[in-house]
Amino acid sequence: MTPDETHAAAGDAVRAIRTEGLTRRFGDLVAVDRLDLEVPRGCFFGFLGPNGAGKSTTIAMLTGLLRPSAGRAEILGRDLAREPLAVKRSLGVVPEQLALFDRLTGPEYLAFVARMYGVPRREVRTRAAELLALMDLDGAPRKLIVDYSHGMKKKIALAAALIHRPEVLFLDEPFEGIDAVASREIKDLMLQLVARGVTIFLTSHVLEIVERLCTDVAIIARGRLVASGPMDEIRRGGGLEEAFLDLVGRPETPGAGLSWLG
């Protein structure tokens, strides 16, 4: 093994996600523009940006939902384009638009997802039961997901993302529409997961949550990476919101452009 290869292998061992020039175009619109990103293994990574910045598109590319127009992505040292199935086995995903088969009950859905990820049959029931109990969804085992509330749907999606014990967890706006109690439970669970070595890649518009949970942050604006690094570096001694506004641009005075508002 050459020194370069040794160095690269060592890098793979400490990096969960690495992208090089990752780009996605929709017609003339460049949603993500040459994104170079490195996410350390076992970190709680916050991926921030204003609306339409390219956060969800990035997650969709990193999880195989969207193909990059250019560039490449590696997850846990594996190239996503070359080894998609091997990469997907190690991922858990809660997309913004929850991908749920809502005509199944909660236990049926978890069992289905577990089998899709190759969880041994004898473990499926145990894991599903524990996850349902953890998410407080075990009270209505025969209820179809279509009849769940929004918060319950978020929880079952999170449970499904965890059932195969993923090494990297992608969460796109996991707290949207969740009440305070459920939100607290989910935050505690995420911290436990990170403590056990799981890498979490999180997007959220709620900067307070990101500031409290995440160890590392990247900020994207108009498809381009504008900052990336440990939380303390990005905050530069101040708050995350101030740093975020400095990096992506502050809004004009509200209502200043509305002549009819008086």
Binding site: T63, G64, L65, L66, R67, P84, L85, A86, K88, R89, L91, V93, P95, Q97, L98, A99, L100, F101, D102, R103, L104, T105, E108, A111, F112, V113, R115, M116, Y117, G118, P120, R121, A140, R142, K143, L144, V146, D147, Y148, S149
Partner: protein
Amino acid sequence: MTRLLALAGLRLRLVLRASRGSSRVFNVLAFVAVAAAGLAAACGPAAAFGTITYMLIEAGTAEALDKLAVLLRALFVLVWVLALGVPIATGSLDQGFDVAPLRVFPIARRTLWLLTLGAAWLSFEHLAYLPALLVVASVLSATGAAPPALAFGVIAGTAACALAAGHALTLLVAGVLRRRGLREALGIGALLLIIGASLLPSILDQGGSPGGTGLLTLVAGTARWLPPLLAADALVARSPAEALAAAGGLVVWAVLLAGVSWAAFSFVHSGEPIVRRGGGWRRTGRPSPGARAEGGLARAVDRLPGPLRATVGKELRYLLRSAAGRFTLLMVPLFTALIARGFGTQAEIPFVGAPGADTLFVGLALYVGLLSSNWFHNAFGWDAGGAALWRLAPVSPRTVLAGKNLALWLYDGLLVALALLSLSLLAGPPSPLALLTGLLAHATAGLTLAATGNLASLLFPVPRDPSSLRNSGSFAGTLFGLAGTLAGSTLVGLALLPALFGRPGWSLAGLIAALAVAGLGWTGSLGLAGQLFERRGERLLAGLAGRG
């Protein structure tokens, strides 16, 4: 007026944009083809009604005029069956236009009511009967059998009554039955009732029982004060006074039903929005007994490990929990029973002779094999947002498609078993040769549908509501589905031809060859569809999200 125009513009945009997407040109062409087929389908019966009306008027005898009265009653009853039965049977309780989101705007309730009436008027159930009514009114006017004002007035009155009644009924059902399970059960029940009601006269007539005849007489006597018979009576009245009385009755009904429609609209839209998309009206607590009953088959598959069987288990649950899947399960044995008892096995069929249990089974097995065409040709439609999981999970597209196909074949097998059971109980079991022939015909049709369906599912995905029986596929997908059905039935039909000439053994050999051809086609399509899934996965998800 500005608001009304804005709302009409919104409605128009929604209709036009339903067909947008990468295959826009093809979709427009397909729309024209489907619209032409629909127009022909509506104009065919209209021409038949018009011709028969003209011939009966020209005959001018008392017997002919009696037959004209019967014909017109049948026509107006058909109008009402369509207007009341179709929206409920297809689960289209908002009749294609949910105005609940518009309630946040300062729009008068009356305007919204008129808007929903207008949207309802443009739906299939009302447009379907219009040509026949117009043709009959024209014939009656042109021949002088009825004054034009009366003829067209009665047509307008009937349309207004049917529209208001259908509108009121669907609103009340939507408002009262908020539970999804009840709503689905009602839809299935209504459709079965329509099928049963349409076949009841022939069954009673064939039985020739006095009780059956008495029942029909009682129903006819009571129904003469209802709008369909009032309309017919107004058109064939023997005196102006009788015509005016019947037409007056129709006007009273129109006013009354418009009032009921308004009241129903006010009732439903006075509180929280009720009509929602995607089957999520209100929580239902737990699956219905039917949902629990279906568990057996799905659980049996689910016990086995692996992504393929996980997919089959999921698909079976979806099939057996959908309104269409349950309806078909109920309909097949009932339809078989009606065929076996209602029409008997002794009636002569051209080129076939008396069908007997053997021919009936072969025909039913093929028919049942074609029933799942919608599922085969829009395999991801019922998954909607969940379809993203097929891209996220570490599973090959071929496995997903094969699993979906396998589940449908198992479901179809269940349908054949039900048909066989029903037929055996009522007309005797088919011979082993007929059983084998039927099963081969069924399998060939199933393989052909899967082969074309796998491609259509990826090329023309359309989100479907599992709660609804309405088949709201894309125009292009509909054409593809028709082509697949035609291919399957042609393949089987060619193989069955020798049997019509007394060579059942040749047919058996032909079917085995057809099965092999269909199998090769399916294997090829699976590979091609797998590649398409990789290439068009993003478009598939966008299409299912309504952004196609």
